[in-house]
Amino acid sequence: MSFKEEVALTLRGARMQRRVIGALIIRELHSRFGQHYYGYIWLFFEPLLLGSAIGLVHYLNDHSAIFGPFEFFAAGYILYFIFRGILNRATAAIRSNLHLLYHRTVTLPDIFFARHLIETISCIGVMFVFMFALFVVNGEMVEDPTKIILAFIGMALLTQGMALMAAAATEAMEGMERAVHAFTYLTLPICGMFFLVEWLPESLQELALYVPMVHLFELMRDGQFGSRFQAHYDLGYVAAWILVTHLLGLAALRITRQRLGLE
């Protein structure tokens, strides 16, 4: 096969994969929310409600923060929701979609890509709604929306890598599912949702910056109110995490696929 043919084959595959993912997104939405419109609304409302609730709790608790605690925690929770939503759903993804694999054109990563696209797009949409609402209420625009979107995409990619690994691990080992759930809860205090790196003592700052999510939270807050604090983030570090987790996750999924067999 010549190089040209190989490229043509790859492109044909890419087109096909796009269609498969599109179809999977529709299917996933149907199976998750039913065929009614309010199901789709729920997709946006879940993170929005949870984010607002958490923001409200902190708003009532604490008036002394530098930024509005509502903006701080609610936006933080929406970003965290990507992480939680993707990673927690990943463990059940293979089992619940096993029958789809009878179709030759559906591959394991497609299932994940479709789900993650849904989560990411809905969370970014929620963030936009949220930013708009704050703009209406406070009359104060976020400083750099590009950074916020970048943070969301980075978080989605990072979590995707982790989710691929988590899914493969769940298939390989019994009980991994619980471990993954425990992991998402354990990351909650250290992921940067509740703090700015600047607030930490120096010795902890260095430790906190080992956690890739912290960089993304910092990036988002830099976009929200970057002029009011000193953001600490290194996107190269996050990119390295994304690459390594994707490599391991995709490779592990290939192994899983072989193990599943499916005649």
Binding site: F3, E6, P109, E202, S203, R257, E263
Partner: protein
């Protein structure tokens, strides 16, 4: 179709092209040499070759870069009242106040900011000509500076000069890279001098601000003292009276004496009337004395207090009031001057404590061995990154192809 059939050709993606072309060529007598086969593999093209190029650059072409390092602390004699951030940092830093006064993290931070600013770059450029310095003939084409615009020099400068502040110890480390050890040292020295002058300027400014206010206060007080003295002198010249209070005292004493004499004369008269005839001349003399005394007393009284008295009889009461006002003014002015002097003294002490110092801990050194470029680290990390990227790309492309199969 079984899954194994479906997957088996995919797992070995890199092979098909080689093996198929191998198959195609196998009938032909001259088989492709192994080197050519290797070269045509995507892994070689996308990972090995770039890594080799990078390694070739770092080990073959890259000019050695020499590092000159200097360390310094910025500290002040007193505590820095640098707001909550500084306080927090001080709290986080714990007991670091050993080195002759507290470290001033805020100032150290501003020095660090200064050292990576365009201003510092331009100051260094005036003295050393940075473009010349980073475009030495021995510099390789990739690492040398390509631009002469100030902003781009500043960007390159940030690449070659790193300033790091260790918040725990307050030590700022300045690292300068260039293609000659002497250049590095000289640039580090220049930057240190610039930082020192900045610290002096900041310190001067802080002192000036504190002192100027106190100085102004003293000037005002001094002027007031002088004015009050001058007013007093004017008053004395005008009224021809050195001490109005004294004059009043004297007048009172005189009046007391007159009153005493009058009382005595009256007693004498009464006593003499007991045994003398009314027309006795001695009685008359006493009466005359009493009369004279009474006249004298009333004259004195009118001189002191009667404001309707004619000009010749100066009104002592008015004089006294003016005099006392002037004395009071003088007293207040003196007190103000004293307090202003005291506050200047305090301000001077405060300024002494606010004084900033930049103390060099490590002088810029003259490098012997070039620490940069980090050939192995760079090559290895690029290789590793390419391997990972290749792996992901391979997995993704294989995934795509599965759909087309």
């Amino acid at each position: 179709m079984t899954i194994s059939m479906k997957l088996s050709p995919l797992i070995t993606l890199s092979e098909p092209s080689a093996s198929r072309s191998g198959e195609a060529l196998e009938p032909a007598p001259p088989p492709q040499p192994w080197l050519l086969r290797l070269v045509r593999k995507p892994f070689f093209l996308l990972v090995i070759l770039p890594s080799l190029l990078v390694a070739f650059y770092f080990y073959g072409i890259a000019a050695p870069q020499y590092v000159s390092e200097a360390r310094f602390v910025v500290h002040s004699r007193g505590n820095d009242g640098g707001g909550p951030a500084a306080a927090l940092r001080a709290a986080a830093g714990g007991a670091l106040g050993g080195l002759g006064g507290a470290m001033s993290s805020g100032e150290a931070n501003s020095i660090r900011n200064f050292l990576s600013s365009l201003d510092a770059v331009m100051q260094a450029n005036e003295k050393l000509d940075l473009v010349e310095l980073w475009r030495r003939p021995e510099a390789d084409f990739l690492a040398r500076i390509w631009f002469t615009e100030p902003e781009r020099i500043a960007r390159f400068f940030k690449h070659m000069v790193t300033v790091t502040l260790d918040p725990m110890t307050g030590v700022t480390t300045l690292q300068v890279r260039s293609f000659r050890p002497e250049d590095s040292k000289e640039l580090a020295e220049t930057l240190l001098v610039a930082a020192e002058s900045l610290v002096n300027r900041l310190s001067e400014r802080a002192r000036g601000d504190t002192l100027r206010l106190a100085q102004q206060e003293i000037e005002v007080a001094e002027r007031r003292v002088q004015e009050s003295r001058a007013a007093l002198v004017r008053f004395r010249e005008q009224e021809r009276e050195l001490d109005s209070a004294g004059a009043v005292q004297a007048a009172l004493v005189l009046r007391g004496q007159l009153e005493g004499a009058l009382a005595q004369a009256r007693a004498e008269l009464t006593e003499r009337q007991q045994f003398m005839r009314p027309d006795n001349p001695a009685l008359q003399a006493t009466r005359n004395r009493i009369e004279a005394l009474e006249r004298q007393i009333s004259a004195e009284r009118s001189r002191h207090t009667d404001s309707t008295a004619n000009v010749g009889g100066a009104v002592l009461a008015r004089q006294l009031a003016a005099y006392e006002r002037l004395m009071l003014e003088r007293e207040f002015a003196d007190k103000q001057l004293a307090s202003a002097t005291a506050s200047l003294e305090t301000a001077r002490m405060e300024a002494q404590r606010q004084q900033l110092y930049l103390s060099r801990i490590v002088q810029p050194n003259l490098a012997v061995y070039p620490l940069y470029p980090r050939s192995f680290t760079n090559t290895a990390s690029i290789f590793l990154g390419l391997v990972i990227a290749y792996g992901i790309g391979w997995l993704l492309i294989v995934g795509m192809r599965e759909h087309a199969a």
